[in-house]
Symmetry: C2
Subunit: 141 residues, 2 copies
DNA sequence: TACAATAATGATAATTATTATCATTATCAA
DNA sequence: TTGATAATGATAATAATTATCATTATTGTA
């Protein structure tokens, strides 16, 4: 959290009560993937009249500073988690039944899948997206 | 397209004019990833007063029959593409600059990334999601 | 310390993609 | 042909997120 504070200070990002509350929620839920609404209700327990817009603004900013990692789940909703380390891969397993989200790490797709099988998961499908620049756009720079 | 027609017939899915229009749009755009709105406007050229609800309903149904593949892009919008073959992996490259979506195939994540590098892409990040059942839910069945 | 400039906030309106509703129209099977 | 069923289009509803804006808080400076 010292590293986080340093980063926020570097970027002259004021630590208001609302922002502290949100950060605390994220710290208390390390390893979990929270939706903006979940963060909102948890933050309300600490800072009772925080507004939902503030939650969205803060989550967005913290994600852009790479304090949080933002990822789309359930097709229509972002979830946020504390960014652990620099090269933390985001290989998620979503349970089609209970919705539980677990993280996995590893290098090989199929190796990964069989490892998950060994651990008792039943993998139905997967989706991989790369983000970057296509050859045309890459050349222009 | 014969295979598609067979599948639709099997599932007693009537081929109305509207549905034919949508299927034609998808066939003409093989390899591309179209949003529901894009399909809607293209379909209107063939079937002028088709409604957006019909487009959504049809795309959804065709995806559930695995005639189309449905995938979330841009964080908030689904895109649909014609499902080529059974074991077609969906490894997408999204250009952060122009938004172009290309498909890649291959087995190893890093091998893939370096192959993409060789082809002139600049990969910034990637995201992988598995869909399936977690050990607890898997056991219950 | 006072004060002007700037930043942050909360309430709420607006937006966007998608889904649900429902009256009307088309199709199928007897 | 007709009656049951399915499909459609218009549009209302929903859900997540973003934008707007008046109010409040904070900061740096005189």
């Amino acid at each position: 959290m010292d590293a986080i504070n340093a980063k926020l200070h570097e970027n002259s990002y004021r630590l208001t009560g609302q922002r502290k509350a949100i950060l605390n929620v994220m710290l208390e839920n390390q390893g979990r993937h929270l939706s903006a609404e979940e963060v909102f209700w948890e933050a309300r327990k600490i800072f009772p009249n925080i507004g939902i817009a503030t939650v969205y603004r803060t989550l967005e900013k913290l994600a852009s500073l790479e304090v949080l990692y933002k990822s789309m789940f359930e097709g229509n909703k972002y979830r946020y988690e504390l960014a652990e380390d620099e090269n933390h891969h985001h290989h998620h397993v979503l349970c089609l039944a209970c919705g539980q989200i677990s993280e996995v790490s590893g290098d090989l797709l199929h190796e990964l899948e069989s490892k998950l099988d060994e651990k008792g998961y039943k993998i139905i499908d997967h989706e991989l997206k790369f983000y970057g620049y296509c050859p045309a756009c890459n050349k222009e720079k």
